[in-house]
Each structure stands twice: as structure tokens, then as C-alpha cells.
Amino acid sequence: MTARKSGSRLETEIERCRSESQWDKIPELVRQLSAKLISNDDLGELLLGECKLQTYLKENPIKQGASPRGPRPKLVEVRKHLTAALDRGNLKADYIQEASVLMAKLCYVEGEYRDALGHYSRVNMDDMQLVGAPVYRLSMIAEAYATKGLCLEKVPAISPSLSNKNTGSPSSNRSTTDREQEIITCYEKSGDIALLYLQEAEKALSAGIQNRSPKPGPTAQDLELGYFLETGLQRAHVIHFKNGNLTRGVGRFREILRAVENRTTQSLRMTIARQLAEILLRGMCEQSYWSPLEDPPTVSPLDDPTRQGHTHSKNYSLSRRPRVYSGENLFCPQENTEEALLLLLISESMANRDAVLSRIPEHNNDRIISLQSASVVYDLLTIALGRRGQYEMLSECLERAMKFAFEEFHLWYQLALSLMAAGKSARAVKVLKECIRLKPDDPTIPLLAVKLCIGPLHWLDEGECFAKMVIDMGEKAAEFRAKGYLAIGLVYSLKATDASLRSTQEEYQRKALGAFQRAQSLSPTDHLAAFYLALQLAVSRQIPEALGYVRQALQLQGDDVHSLHLLALLLSAQKHYHDALNIIEMALSEYPENFNLLYTKVKLESMCRGPEEALLTCKHMLQIWKSFYNLTNPSDSGRGSSLLDRAIADRRQLNAMTLPDFSDPETGSVHATSIAASRVEQALSEVASSLQSSAPKQGPLHPWMTLAQIWLHAAEVYTGMSKPAEASACTQEAANLFPTSHNVLYMRGQIAELRGNMDEAKRWYEEALSINPTHVKTMQRLGLILHQLQRYSLSEKVLRDAVQVNSTAHDVWNSLGEVLQAQGNAAAATECFLTALELEASSPILPFTIIPRAL
């Protein structure tokens, strides 16, 4: 007390011991106290009663859910002390209150709830001062409110039908509600005061450490909440939720969490933060949410409508409240996911701190507990972040969970999936490998890995391994078996495209075909199996067979864009250009923004309807591109900005990259020519896949690559029209984006050729080849020019190389024939011409491989 006399060191010492629950020291102190003054006897009785009661409770703690029963022999003494203290009436008012409150607590422990309530009614606890009260008294008051609440719950209200709520007259109903309200108020007050007590106790403790002693005492030990304080802190919201009053429950949670934490409340805060996050994620939605600093809505769908008489705000006030987090610019969530995330991040940081690292058997249980409490938090984080598509952040959070993850499949798998969703493919594959080790029977995991290997990573050898794992599972893989064959077929198919030797190419094509056939027979209702079978047949130029399967694929999935595209290309290979164009137009009515279809359309149009139409399509493409990436909002920045903003940011790096040629993958993106090129590619595909995760647009095309592509297509149409100036302007646009792209250089060569400037053209072609030595189209043009310059043997060499790279390019065969003819090698020339003729008969307007192959 503030008015305490300075001389009484003893009293201070007693107060400290009471605050720090050092009950074993009390009897000695009491002895010293009564030696001083006779009037201290009563106080001594009080202190002895208290210390014996507390010691008893420490030795025989009350368990949650268990109710105490009957008098205990050990407590007889306590009653004697307290009765003595109260009876004489010499105590100061403060101490009388303390004695009565202790007496009531004793009654509760002995199961005498009515008696306890009687004591409480005599004290009038609302009069007990909070301001300036010593720390131990705060705890005492908090316990008293909690105990009163407990007693009120035990003792039936005036009308004996407390338990069944739906019977009885309105008046008894009302008194039931009043009673409930009284109980809740008791607990809420108890909780508030308990929080205040804990804050003050910690303050006193740390002050104590500073004042006293380098001597390490028992001071560092954590305060322990007893049964009563625990009940006081938590029972109120438990009742709210039991009654279906979610609004109040959430409010109570928030009050507890807003109070400044201390060491004792940490574990409680972690639990409550997690529970509140659960409620926010499971039971609330954006429209029913209200922010922690707002008043709750008066009517909320969250509350059980069958129960009347809910009040939404608390109806008491305390003279002193626990300190809450305050200050300027406090972040206050405005949305349920935000609040859930904040709470989960807080819980996560605590859970992480408690991660039990040691693996010795004695700590097994501890480890399991820490793992469980953390994995709940990580699961909730996944739910919250997944809803908002924040996979990158999620993957970082889950990375922190790896502390717990030794041999824990769930955490590893979730990390792998999050990395995959965040576009961190290479790492995802590594983590998936660990998942396969932990759970070798699950076919999904290797399939996910193949998906990444085939797609963004282009790690075909690894992909083959993973696909074989699925196949090796045999019947166990059930429905995934067909997927396994599909996967390995795709791997072979891509390897065939990559292979530089014709024999390897054919070997892989054969293998791919076999795998696709197997997949198709295993899962005849899967349109993908039929489609890829058709695609592979098309690549091997078995056009009629391919047509059969693509029709089958379309029967299974009528609006599949790739099947439609393939159908159009197959028709164009049969030289039914108008039919092909019709199919493309039909496909475009369903996929108006698909650039791949549009490129094919440009080609077909310049073939069937003349270049003007094709140019119109190019213009249309530019418009689509603009409307697609043009949606921005200037207010936000950084990570969340629109696609175009991000694209602008990305563009600066793109200057240095070459433009992989999506319209001609035989040379461009898929063909890993050199290590450098493939690394660039890899970087690009990571860019592309990270874009994809946020953008709903189809295809992993980078916006700027798409734009350059459009310009190049336009340039090509112009060269077809013999308009070098326009073509040059279009090429320049593409060159602004990708100055070192071989496609741009190739196009420049074509324009130079158009202008009759052979030397310049040759130079451009040579430059293009120095960037991409396997660009077949460039090789073919260069061969032609060399031919014209009468450098036959060099020309022959270039063209032979080109044929080696792509044996199905009929114009190369043709040029090669011409060169050989010019050299007088008529027999070889004839063979070349025949090959060219044969290939031309089955040549599509654009290579079949422009259709993406992915799992």
C-alpha cells in the first residue's frame, strides 16, 4: 500500500513473499511479526491460513473439469486460522476483505458453494481497490471473481431449472439469463484482473532482480497460474462459445490478446491466437467480419439465433485495466484473413521458439507436443495464405517448419507443394525426392516431380526416373498408372525433339509412341492420352492415324484448345487450308485470347485469304495483348502490382536475354543448344511460372515475349508482301525488346534478302547462327545464299547440318538437293528432292511442336 510506513521492512518482505508465492517463508516471517506487536496476531492468523491453503492447493492441484468435494482434514487448520482472524474483528478493512475472500475460497475447495457465495456477498468485491493495490492482492481479487463464478455455476439459480433453458415462464428465463450474465461478468472481471496481476507481477519481479542481487535466486522461475486464474482467464469465452455467442467470444479473445504479453501468458496467448485464427478461418467470412477496434455488429449471422438475450458488449467497468498494446501506427487488421494471418504469424513465432530439437528418446513426448502444436499453426497458415494465393510467402513459412520436419511426411509434402505453387521448381523437385523417400507408395509425388521436370525445368533425365517410379508401382498406382505412361511418353517425346542425331530421335519417338499407346489403352476416357498419342503420330508424320486420335480426343473433351489446334495443323498438313482455318476460327471463338492459335491463324490467313487479312489479325493480337496486360491500378506497388507493372520491371533484365522461339521450338526454347542458352531459358521459365501463379491467363508465355512474337509475325507477313520498310519497322519493335534474339536477326536477314542485299543478309544470318547455332530456318537461308554465291561445299555443309538438326524440314532438303545438283551430284540430289517432296506432302503450316507438351 502506498501509505505503508517505511520502517516496516518486515511487511515489505511479507508482501514480496505473498506476491511471489513463496509460502514456505511465511511461517517464519509471521513468527517475527508477532514478536513485534500483539495486535499483529490477527494478521498472523490470516497469513498462516493463506499460506497453508495455498500450499495445500499446490500439492493437490484442482484439475480442470473436476469439482472439489467434501472437507479435507488438512484444511481444518486453515479454517481455524481464518476464523480466528475474522472473528476478533481487529483487522484493518483491507485485511478483513482478504480474510473473507480466502475463507470463501476455502469453502469452494471444500465444496461448500453456498457458504462461499455468502462470504463473497459480505465482502462486495467491487469495492476492493485495484488502484495502488499490492501485486498479491490483484491475484487474490482475480481468483475471488473466478471462484465466485465457479460457485454461481454450481449453485442453481433461484428457479431451480438452470440447466434446461427452454422450459419455464419468461420470468424464470429472464432470471436464467441474468444469472448467466452474472457468471460471465465474474469470469471476465477475473480474467482482466488476472492479466493486470501478471503484468504487475512481472514488472515487480524484474524490478526485484535489478535492485537485489547478482545472487541468482529462484526469481527467474515463471509464475504459475493456478486453477483459479486459469479458469478466470478462459472460462468466459468458453461459455460464450458454448452458448453460440461467437461475437462475444471473439471479442473476449481479442481483449486477452490485446493485453501486453508477459512470460506467463505466452502459452495462453499462443493457444488463444490459434483458436481465434481458427474461428476467423472456419466460421467467418469477409462480410461478417468486424475489425478488433470496431464495435461488433448488433446482429450477426455468427450468433446462434435460437438463443435470446445475447448482449454484445460487456457491461462492467474496472478502475484499472491491463495495459494493452498501444502507440502510433499500430497495425490493425481490416479483414478476416489479415487478422488470421497476423495471429498465426505470432503463434508461429512462438511455436517455432518451442521447437524441441533434441532427438533423445526421453524428449520424444516433448517433441511430439511441439510438433503437433506447430503443425496446426502451419496448416492454418496454409489455409489462410492459400486462399489469398500467397504461395511464395507460404513457402517461406513452411521452410521455417523444417525444424520440426525430420521424417515428418506431411510437412515435407506441404513444403514441396508450396514451392511448386510458388514457382520455385528446382527446389520443389529436391523436396519431392525426400517426400518420395518418406512415402514411396504414393504415385502422386513422383508425378508432381515429373510435371516440374517436363515443364519449367526441362530436366528430362530426372523426369524419366520419376516417371519410371510410377510405372514400376504397377497395379498399385491404380488410376495413376496411365498418368505414369503419359509422363514417360512426354519425356521421350521431348527428348526426341532435343536429340541431335536422327537415330536417337527416332528411337525416342518410337518409345514415346509406345508409352502414349499404353497410356491410352489404360485410360481410354482420358482425352490427354488420346491427344498426346495424336500429337506424337503427327510429329512422326503419320497424319491419318493422328487425325483419328485427335478426333477421339475431341470426342472426350470437345473444347480442348490443344486438340483443336492439332486438328487444324493436321488439316493444314493435308493441305486443307480452308478447313484448318475454319477449325482455328472455331477454336478462337472459345479461346479468343490464345496467342498460339492466333499465330497459326496469321499463317493460314496469309495462305488462304491474302496478307491483308493476316495483318488485321496481327493488329487484333496487339489489341488483345494490350487489353490483357494493360489492366493496372496505380495505387499499389511492388509484389502485388498488375501484370504489366511487373512486366515492366522484368523487362529490364530481358534486354540481355534471347528470345526463345515459341513458334519454332525445334530450334528455340526446347532445344538446349548450349549451357548458357539453357540457363537463360531456365531463368525465363522461372519468371514465367511465377507470373503464371498470379495471373489467370493461360500459358506460361512471358508478356514481352508474346509482344515480340507478334511483331515478328507481322514482319513475316510484310516480307511475304514484299514490303521491306514495314517489315523492318516491325522487326525493330521486336528488336527493342530482344535485341540479341536470333529470330530478330533472322528476320533482318530476310528483309535484307528482300532488298537484294545478299551480303548484308549473310551477315545477319551468321550473327543469328552465332547466337543459336541450330536455328534451322536460318541455316536454310544461309545455305541458299551460299549457294547463290556459288560456295557450294560450304552451303552443302550448312544444309547437311540443318537436316541433322531437323530431318523433317522439307525446304532444307530441297535446298540441299539444289546444291547437290549444282555440284553435279545428280543421284544424291534426286534423293533429296524426293525426300523433300514426300515431307512437303505431310508438312503442317507451323511445326506440330508449337503445341505445348506438359503434364
Binding site: M284, F331, E338, L341, D366, K451, N633, Q653
Partner: protein
Amino acid sequence: MLAMDQGVVEEWLSEFKTLPDSAVSNYAASLKDKGSLVPALYKVIRENYSDLLEPVCHQLFEFYRSGEPQLQRFTLQFLPELLWSLLSVSAARDPHTSGCIEALLLGIYNLEIVDKDGQSKVLSFTVPSLSKPSVYHEPSAIGSIALTEGALANHGLTRVVYSGPHLQRETFTAQNRFEVLTFLLLCYNAVLSYMTSTSLQSLCQLSSRVCICGYPRQQMRRYKGISTRLTVTSEFLVQLITGIHYALCNGEVELGSKALDDVLYRAQLELFPEALLVGNAIKSSLHGAALKSNNKEGARSIQVEITPTSSRISRNAVTSLSIRGHRWKRHDAVDLGSPDELMDISEVDEGVWPGGVGPDMTPPTITISNSVTTLNLGAKAMKKCRLGGRTSKDKEAGPLTTGRAASENTELSIKRLTLTSSQSVPKAGALTSLTRTASAVFSRSFEQVASGNAPPSSNHTTSEAGRYSCSLQEEGLGYLSPAPNHTQRSPSISVHLGSDL
């Protein structure tokens, strides 16, 4: 359809038209009392050929357009049923019959993607960060936060767009169908708390059917509707899962868990990581929680019990907290829990950033992977640390103060100075003649390692340059390798420069 139902629907169709504007909100509140209306409307939607379908769709759209929240929710409760109707009809390739449902759905979509002024709406939220004080915490109490790329990027509070801007759509095409439907589900999920259990059941049914039709599991579920496979997208499944999660926790245990299983089944077959991720998390988080099915009074099954507040972990177990104070004997040999193998990958993953990036063009972000475990300094020392670090002058002063603190502690201490500056750089898109503002958060962070047994030298400035193992190089080189002169003190801090993607 019974004549009585028809009567109810017809009455409902006529009464709203005659309503004066002032009475709309009362009318909206009174809709709840019409018990037979909602089931009758479900019947109309399910029977695709009913004459009433078109006026009903029209009326539902009018409700939505009125802007009255209760009326909007009334319309939204039918969303799952409408989606199923649309999808099943389009799978049956009979596009003409669902014209009015398409129109209704597109109408709602087009209303929702714009704000009041007709501008494209962007849905965004703030990613909370533990390094900023909030109503629930104080950064200093959290202790050190691992210095990862994400931690740096989130150093401030970041506003992130999670949906939008979207284009206006006039028709459904195969390309935009799921984009529109995903957005509509997002709207539905925003009002989940107001949805009736019938609506939630319908959502679960929709989810199951979309996912299993045409797959072997269809026989298991004995659903005999259409049997063609429906294409789905991962985002669509994630939205479905969000709704299912709510249903699962609010009384629809049986249907909900069936639906969740079916969605996961499909996500596995399609190899969708996003849907698998969220679905697995829900399954695992509900695993322990016993769900009370359909208890009569109020179907909410959120249960909270009193939990013991004392830590359940015994004091002598080694935890990540307790290990922080551990003093490592050989600093150079410390492998900070990051196997080499994983290190390589992170390098591969970050990709190669080509040179030639103009220093004035790209604000580089620094990634410091493999951050050193940071010791918990006393709160006071941390504060002192934080006080510094705004200007370079303060930065130099920082270590001096904390150096003293460290020597007092005679503990190995590692402290961190954080320097953040944000800049907004307006940029012009040269090609498209579109001017955009791109701003980037530019944060640098230095982590300094100092050991307590090294006495703080008086001429700190000279030793400073050597101490910061990661310095900022804006020349735009792809990599900075660990500072060679630091092999002794700070093991493997590698720095990447790269633009924030």
C-alpha cells in the same frame, strides 16, 4: 413441379416489381419468413426446362443489382446450384438451354468486378508483418526474425492484390469460364456466414460432382447425371475448398468431408499443387478436432476448451529457444542447418541474372540466404539497436552502443541493423506508350556478427568495412560470394542480387 410451388414463385416474381424503393430493405428482411419460397426456387433451377427459369433468373439479377446486401445474399445462396446447372449443361454440349443462367452469372460478375465509379475493382489485402507493431504484438517481444528474402520484402506492410483487375465479359467461352466462375465463388465465399445450410449442401454437391464426373470414382458415389469429364482449374478448386471448409466446420460434416475428399482426388489426378496444399492442410487440421455433426441447436461446431497455460514442454529439452543461447565452440565449422545440397538448389532456383542492368533502373533486392541464428539480446539492447540504423551516421554509432551491451553480457551476440528506404520510381513503358508507376521497396539489411570476447575497438569506422560481410553492390553483378576475409567469423553468408519478381 407442384402447382403450389409455382404459385409461390409467381407471387414472388410479381411482388418485387411493385415495391417502392423505400420498402426494399423491409422486403429484404421479410424474405426469410417465406419458408416455401427458397425450396421452390431450387426446384426451378434444377429443372432446367421450366418456363419459370428465365423470369426467376431475371428477378435474381434484379435483386443483385438493387445493391441491398440482404437481397444480394438472397441471390448468392443459389450460386452453387446455378454453377452446377451451367456446368452440367455445357458439359452436355447443349448450350442453348442455359442462356438465362449464363446471363445471370455474367451479370453478377460484371457488377462485382467494378466499383461504384465503374472502375475496375482490385481486391487486395495487407500482409501483416511481425516487424511492425500491431494491436496484438510488439516487434521487440518476438525476438529475432529470420532474415530471409521474404522477411526483407515484408519488412514494411505490403498490400497484395489477390484478385483483379478483371475484364468485363459478355459471353462465356471455354477460356474465360473458370476465370468468371472462380471470381463468383470468391464473392460467394465472402458471404459464407450468411448462407443457409441448403446452400452449403448444394456447394458440397457441386464440388463433388465437378470433380468426379467421368472418373472411376463416379460409380463409387453413385451419381448418375452427366458422365463427361469437366475441366477445372486449380484456382477454382481452391475456392471450392474454401467453401467446403466452412461447410465442414458449420454442420455439414458428412457432405463436406465427402466433397473435400473428391476435390483432393481430382487435384491429385490433375497434379494441382495449390489445391492439394490447401486441401491437405484442412484435412490435417481437422484431423484432431472432433467435428460435431448437425447438433440440433445451431449447427456451429466451434468448440473451445480450457487449456492448461503452463508450457507442456519439459524444461530440459533442447528447443530452438534454448539453443540460441548456446555458445558454439568453433565458429568456422558451424553448419547452420542448411545442407550444402539445399544451398546449391537455392542458387539454381534464383536463376542467373544477366549483367548489364543499369544501376539506376533496377532497385536490387538483397537476398541473404542462410542467415545466422541471431541471439536474443535483452530487449533494451535491441531497442538501442533499433534506434540506430536510420542514417549511415547512426549506423556507425549503433555497434558502439550495442558492442558495449554485448561485452556486458559476455555472450556471443549477433545484432542486426536494419535500414529501409522506399522509393517510388515512375517509369514510362516505352513501347506501349503506357505510363506506369512501378515502385519498389528497397531494403537493405546488414547483419553484423560480433563476438563478445572481441573488445569493441575505439576506431570502429575502420573495422566497419571489414565487418559487414554483405555489402551492397549496385553494379548488378549476379552474385556476391561470401566475403573471403570472413571465413572465420560468419560462416557462409551468400548474397544475391535480383529484382523482385
